[in-house]
């Protein structure tokens, strides 16, 4: 048994909390759910292994030489994955700073706050490493099964990437605390995390569009410019890629570097982490004054009052805007592709239409959750003299209104290129948005808006239905825009998804 308040004792406590969080996230406390979650995880692992086989099997037996093209390709993939890990780690570090759950207990206890926070940072790193390893495992397993054990070195590289991502996230977040202060760090860190997660993919796609006219992120990595400007073969920059390819010396260096930088960060930042956590805990929401109320109360219908309220709440919440509109960021590459090809006189709508429709569906799903489930004053609305049907209808109108406003410029530009495609795209956007809203209506729950990030875990069924519905409507619209009758196929699937959702909807019970 370890001594109370020692590092190992605290680590065991953190591990127990982390394990229980993870189990309750998967099972929501139910035995049936636990069984279903286990079956789901096994099925997902199997699916991922099949997917990995399909994507990487052809590389397994190849005796990859340490040539620049291979190293650039592998390094690019690693950096891409690392940016996502960094994004996740920043989220976790920010949450740890601002979560007040047990802070009072910790800081009023005689235990060393430095030790507690060191262990907490270790937990964040462990979570980042576990997630990275779990996601990479199918690919590494397939490569090792088909191409030999040398590929197992990938596990070491991925674990080191998780450790470095956590160290970087700690440094970035603490730097933000020092630069912008405790009040603003939360929002900025979350926005930065989201942008880091998206920017690398989007940047590569934009580079690919300009260099090769393709939206593939790998086109840029294999371009002549990139190969010509890559560092020399002996550079330490290639160590991770060399380690993946089975270079044991490189693997030892990468793992040592990862563990070393993480330990150094924990040692360096654990004292400051505590100080900043205290500062964050003392931050109450900043007072925000609105423009002086000059126009007076306006005459409006009940529906208008509800719509206006929804729009105002979304407009004023910078964090929510950053979260919901992040999907719009992904529209940048296809929009750029449209512009590039439109400039050259090619018809590009076939590429653009499904992306836009898919994004509209996903965005509408998020907005619908906020509007329908994330009602912060449900009792006020429920006790108002307005029927529940009218309330829901007003909220649907608010969502569709926002989608129409956001996507109207894209549809307008598209119509300059092809009127028919533009009209079909507009209809597809509204249909996908309506379908996503309907799914959220069927799976509506009562939640706080601040739980927006967790909405996907509260109903995985709704999340999957929303995604598949958006995909089906995207395919339908793309085929319809190109004048093909085969559009009826995905449309039928989309309707089947909606019918299925309606049949199993908890709100029908």
């Amino acid at each position: 048994m370890s001594q109370p308040a020692s590092l190992t004792w605290l680590a065991r406590h953190e591990f127990r909390l982390g394990w229980r969080d993870w189990v309750s996230l998967l099972t929501a406390g139910g035995r049936t759910r636990a069984r279903n979650a286990t079956i789901g995880l096994v099925a997902f692992a199997a699916f991922m292994h099949v997917f990995a086989y399909w994507t990487v099997a052809s590389y397994a037996d190849t005796n990859l030489a340490f040539d620049t093209a291979a190293l650039v390709g592998i390094t690019g993939t690693l950096v891409l994955s690392w940016s996502l890990l960094l994004s996740q780690a920043m989220e976790s570090v920010t949450r740890a700073f601002y979560s007040r759950s047990d802070l009072d207990l910790i800081l009023t206890s005689p235990a060393s706050a430095r030790k507690v926070f060191a262990v907490r940072m270790g937990r964040i790193a462990a979570a980042a490493v576990v997630i990275a390893v779990l996601l990479a495992a199918p690919f590494i397993n397939v490569l090792a099964f088909l191409g030999g054990s040398r590929w197992l070195a990938g596990y070491g590289v991925v674990a080191a990437m998780g450790a470095v991502a956590t160290a970087a996230a700690l440094a970035l977040t603490i730097a933000l605390f020092r630069i912008v202060g405790a009040k603003r760090t939360r929002l900025i860190a979350q926005v930065v995390a989201a942008i880091i997660g998206a920017a690398f993919v989007i940047g590569l796609q934009i580079a690919a569009i300009f260099s090769a006219g393709s939206i593939s992120r790998y086109a840029a990595l294999q371009s002549n410019w990139m190969l010509a400007h890559a560092p020399g073969m002996g550079s330490a920059f290639w160590w991770p890629a060399r380690a993946v390819l089975g270079d044991h010396a490189a693997l030892v260096c990468v793992v040592t570097f990862g563990v070393g930088i993480l330990c150094a960060s924990i040692a360096l930042f654990s004292r400051r982490f505590g100080e900043h956590a205290v500062a964050a805990a003392g931050v109450s929401s900043a007072t925000v004054r609105q423009r002086r109320w000059s126009h007076g109360f306006r005459s409006r219908s009940q529906g208008h009052a509800l719509r206006q309220k929804e729009w105002t709440l979304v407009r004023r919440d910078a964090w929510l805007i950053s979260q919901t509109l992040m999907q719009i960021l992904y529209l940048l590459p296809p929009a750029l592709l449209l512009w590039v090809t439109f400039r050259d006189g090619h018809e590009s709508f076939v590429v653009l239409v499904p992306v836009v429709v898919m994004a509209a569906g996903q965005l509408a799903g998020g907005l619908a959750w906020l509007s329908i489930s994330g009602e912060d004053a449900p009792v006020l609305v429920a006790t108002a003299p307005i029927s529940a049907r009218r309330v829901l209808w007003a909220k649907v109108e608010a969502v569709i209104g926002m989608i129409a406003l956001i996507f109207a410029p894209i549809v307008a530009v598209l119509m300059l290129d092809a009127v028919f495609a533009g009209i079909v795209c507009g209809l597809g956007i509204l249909t996908a948005a309506a379908a996503a809203t309907l799914i959220q209506l069927c799976f509506r729950v009562q939640a706080r808006r601040s739980q927006f990030r967790r909405r996907q875990t509260s109903s995985r069924l709704a999340t999957f239905a929303e995604a598949f519905s958006s995909i089906a409507w995207a395919a339908t619209t793309a085929l319809a825009a190109s004048g093909s009758w085969t559009a009826l196929g995905p449309a039928a699937i989309a309707f089947a998804i909606l019918a299925g959702v309606w049949l199993i909807s908890p709100s029908r019970a």
């Binding site: 709440l313 009792v379 429920a382 006790t383 108002a384 003299p385």
Partner: protein
């Protein structure tokens, strides 16, 4: 005397069961212009009763009439005359008090000019003027409670129902809330309030209803309740404890 007044709220045989009966064939009458306090031990069914009155729960049996309107068959008309305030009211963090009141007035379809005047009045009464144009996200519990109370009053309800409205409020804020409620009753409004603070019920209420096990076990003025226990000159606390003890013994 009370019987001369119109009935503001009438519950007849109202029952609600969750895993066990929460409210059991409850009959309750509250008259117009009356301040009625509903007291009872934890889990007695007070909140469930009031949530049924305001349409947040549907009873399994019985009828609810608000100002002569059947609240179960015409909930919209009943809600037009009612306001509800809970102990932890939810307001919109990103709206200012003025914007919140404008939204509430819109939901209750109150003419903008009248609602605006009323909003200014309420904000003044409740001492919210310095914060009227600040977003509610930084407000303390007391300030949030005041904003919610202003929201409950901005549409000038005939019947205002409050569930533990003074819980967690400082003395100054609690006094402001009590003053506003007293003014409301003086102006002819009806107030029904649940509370665990028996002194508040004793001082403010015209009549007190004691509920236990989902049934109304005693009702009346403080003197009426004392007579029921057969102990004069005791506090409401002693009377209440005696009534509840009798109920437990009977059960």
């Amino acid at each position: 005397m009370k019987q001369d007044r119109p009935i503001a709220l009438a519950l007849r045989g109202v029952s609600k069961r969750f895993d066990r009966p929460a409210v059991d064939a409850l009959d309750l009458t509250v008259y117009g212009g009356e301040f009625y306090a509903l007291v009872g031990p934890n889990g007695a069914g007070k909140t469930t009763t009031l949530r049924m009155v305001v349409g947040l729960l549907r009873p399994d049996a019985g009828s609810i009439s608000i100002e002569g309107i059947d609240a179960l068959s015409d909930p919209v008309a009943a809600k037009q005359m009612t306001a509800w305030l809970s102990d932890e009211p939810m307001i919109y963090d990103k709206l200012t008090p003025y914007e919140y009141l404008e939204f509430v007035a819109g939901l209750w379809r109150i003419a903008p000019a009248a609602a605006e005047e009323r909003a200014r009045e309420l904000i003044g009464w409740l001492g919210l003027e310095p914060h009227a144009h600040e977003r509610c996200e930084g407000f303390s519990k007391g300030m949030r409670q005041k904003v919610a109370l202003a929201g409950a009053l901005v549409h000038d309800p005939k019947l205002i129902i409050l569930d533990e409205p003074l819980t967690g409020l400082d003395a100054g804020t609690a006094r402001q809330v009590k003053n506003v409620l007293r003014d409301r009753v003086r102006a002819g409004g009806t107030v029904i309030m649940t509370t665990h603070i028996l002194e508040v019920a004793e001082r403010m209420a015209d009549r007190i209803g004691v509920i236990a096990g989902g049934r109304l076990i005693a009702e009346g003025t403080l003197d009426d309740l004392r007579q029921q226990t057969g102990k004069s000159a005791t506090s409401l606390e002693d009377t209440f404890l005696a009534l509840v003890a009798e109920q437990v013994a009977a059960a």
